[in-house]
Symmetry: C2
Subunit: 96 residues, 2 copies
């Protein structure tokens, strides 16, 4: 079956985030003074084949550990979208 | 009140995604052949002050349109985390 996984990679809270600071500065320059903090991260959407949900999840975990996130400075979160049991062709058949 | 907003910015499906293709190539090189597609996007977490949920949401919408996303080539989705009515100090009092 084909699964869709969303991987959210964020810098750990103690790590400086120059991109986030730059975006915050830009928002303030545009007049959005109510913004206190911006943290910039990565949002990756993977489409992959797997036999079942557990296999899909463990594969994405392994990919994230090996390549997608740097565990020294980054945290990550994975959300798996499971296809409907009938297996495909039904666009609305995904659940989180 | 202080709100937390998550902004997900993705390239439109018709737009080429060289970063995603590079990540897919890297995953294949590591042996993850089950990966069919990778799309790379941005994940921004904003902390901002607003009087109520509607104001927070409309401010983040406006920020996203003006600076965070390029509407020509990108789609975006906003999720707002609303603090508990008591207003603060309770770390677990957020709902999506």
């Amino acid at each position: 079956m084909t699964y869709r996984a969303e991987v959210f990679v964020t810098l750990k809270p103690v790590v400086n985030d120059p991109a986030g600071l730059t975006i915050k500065g830009g928002l303030h320059a545009l007049g959005f003074d109510s913004v206190r903090e911006v943290r910039a991260g990565k949002y990756l959407v993977l489409t992959l084949d797997a036999d079942d949900e557990d296999q899909a999840r463990s594969r994405v975990e392994e990919m994230t550990r090996q390549l997608l996130a740097n565990a020294v400075i980054e945290d990550y979160r994975i959300e798996l979208k499971v296809p409907s049991p009938s297996g495909g062709g039904q666009g609305g058949g995904l659940r989180t």
